[in-house]
Symmetry: D3
């Protein structure tokens, strides 16, 4: 029986899968996650985007830079030259959280979902780092793939009912 996980060969050894026979197609992935925090922390972040002390602009730079370094972090991930990386934040006062969305596109033989997920998590870690002086109980969560286009596996759209 074939292993459903392509990252292992027949001997069960990890390898970087051969993508040489795959076509170069346009790839796009959108990932999302959240950082839940105390209302005072969220308020401080919002004030920074209007004035000085902007947490989110630092997190955005960190996320974009991390997306480019995804194959250095994820052992079996192929390197790709990314065409676009964009990271958006939405402040959700009802749920007292920052919602992080990353979009990555390229043309290549493998998808960019790991790059989008890495951007989201590093954005979350950076927000945590910058706000931890006032709030150590933040939770980074719900990191998932929203959408993925290109390649043999076709168009994936997440049926959203996470929360």
């Amino acid at each position: 029986m074939q292993d459903p996980l392509s990252h292992f060969d027949e001997q069960g050894q990890a390898h970087m899968v051969d993508v040489g026979a795959k076509a170069d197609t346009e790839r796009r992935a959108v990932a999302r996650g959240t950082v839940m925090m105390a209302p005072a922390t969220l308020r401080r972040i919002r004030e920074g985007t209007l004035a000085k002390g902007d947490v989110l602009s630092v997190a955005r730079v960190a996320a974009i830079m991390a997306a480019k370094r995804t194959p250095e972090l994820i052992p079996l991930c192929h390197a790709l030259m990314l065409h676009r990386v964009a990271v958006d934040f939405e402040l959700d006062e009802g749920a007292s959280q920052v919602m992080i969305t990353a979009q990555v596109t390229t043309t290549g033989k493998t998808g960019v979902e790991m790059e989008a997920l890495t951007a989201v998590t590093v954005a979350g870690l950076t927000i945590y780092d910058m706000c931890k002086a006032m709030d150590r109980s933040m939770v980074i969560g719900e990191i998932r793939l929203l959408e993925k286009q290109g390649g043999r596996s076709g168009h994936f759209v997440r049926k959203e009912a996470v929360r």
Copy 2:
């Protein structure tokens, strides 16, 4: 009024905070997170730990290596020479998830919570990468600090009632 976020100076500009006056103390941090997945995916992971195709041993190596590179990823994070990094996985069939716990220790002027949180998230991303061929709907979540010792802020223990 002083900004509660020490990562900004009086002008609201991001900087790497001066830790020169801090004492070198023993530091320890424990962080945790989960990867929720389909029961079949969890089953495949469990089988790999017994035989061949071991997802978790790859994720563990990735997590330890990422912990060492935390200051390259998180812009305002100080470099530290880590004394220990350990990453444990627990397979929770009830909740259909892998629970990831990372412990990091050192002696230094700043804490190691970012290193522990980075280890957890990169473990989660690696599990996602290796299992995504069979399950694109996995969710990495509940990444939080469980415990933190050393330094002026004292002993933090999270009141766990996350789920």
Copy 3:
């Protein structure tokens, strides 16, 4: 006759100099540089600091991150754990330029002037990158050490008459 350049041994071969016998002392370095540009480019940068499209906050993050990676870039430079990195910008409309100043401190066996100089140059390169769509003739220049404290070579203060 002894080579005045300590980075070479008696055979004239490059090596990373032995600093084992040096004392751990407090170290501080301040470096400065400029990016000369068209008045319209400088105006665009100034507007971004007040509203959206903030070139300097991206350059500041890049500079701080680069300071931490100095020993990866400069072959014979010793690694150090930096205590503080701060990067300031001043917009000089008279000379139509951005003035970049970086301060780095640590306690260690070698100085931090290369870290401060690296922060300044990467800030300059990032400003160039972000503004090059409107101005390809910018010049990054006058990158020099302003001040240096700690270590055997004592307190260096540059006699400023650069321009």
Copy 4:
């Protein structure tokens, strides 16, 4: 009104610009800079190129390696696979300075001017590092793009009258 700086989206947020629609064309960039120094320092460098203790060969290697890592340093810079990197030095005794010239070529969707500029600055920083034991007053300067070919913006040749 549209922002002339393409590195920001309509909300003024930094992003890595989409280059997916751009054609792959041959790209070439030439950048230049100088390190001004005391005549004795320049003399020491010249002697090293003839005998042992060769500062410039170390700086050349550092510059080539840095060119390859440009997208790790410059936050919004796209990764490219470089076809050629060459770094030349000219010793100018009249002005008591080393002139650094870097040429980079590739075929791709974005230009290589940041790679050429990064090579020049890291060459300058390495020369500074290696000579600072005898001369702390060196100034790295006049870093600018000399020429750029390929891509929509056409052939740029700097009107040289920098000094």
Copy 5:
């Protein structure tokens, strides 16, 4: 007379050779090396592959990750996007050694022999690191190219009679 080493220009200066005129062809390289060790060390490694404490799975991950970073380590090596990296180990009790074989493939303008050789050496270094507590006399050796396909230099197959 022309220098047979293409990594130097006519002035004898190191440069990253222009590969712009080369065709993109399928490339494949196979490299091999060994770690000679005490019989007890080899026995311990074998036991780990059956049960817990698996040295080789850690070494395999390290080798694959290192292959991707080859151009960061080898100064004049061009970056390539690798299609496949696989690392195999064979335990040779007769010679009391682990035999490491790495295969790398891609489509590109330059070959992947340096990537395959880097994977082998980092696998060897990792085995050394993990076993050095019980055996400091291990020898990493016989690292050589077995086979190479693609590009102008044609199909190279090593005439094996190394030992």
Copy 6:
């Protein structure tokens, strides 16, 4: 029974071993290796050290830089701030090989043998890369620890009878 390999915990899981209780002592390691090659290749290398096209000076820089990055390459290796790295080459015409020796020193809780071994192997790989245009049959070999001082395991001196 306890595992002789400290890089695994009681469950047989890889971890970065706790060095927190170890004393900071002076550490020194010397490692050696060779690159065997055709006599014509060795001759070309020798000529370069006298004139232009100096293979060994490029390999030396690569080796020193790699030593500093050892903990990024070797998964369970602790980061250390190195005090000195020196790399020497000896041309052995009898055996038609380059002998590479690396010395590394620091003060720390763990030894620097991995740093010395990494320097030797990256020097070997760089020599291979630069000479492969004229000689694809070179063999990098006999990489071993010659000497190690500092720490609990005491003074190790290899009984040399490798060849």
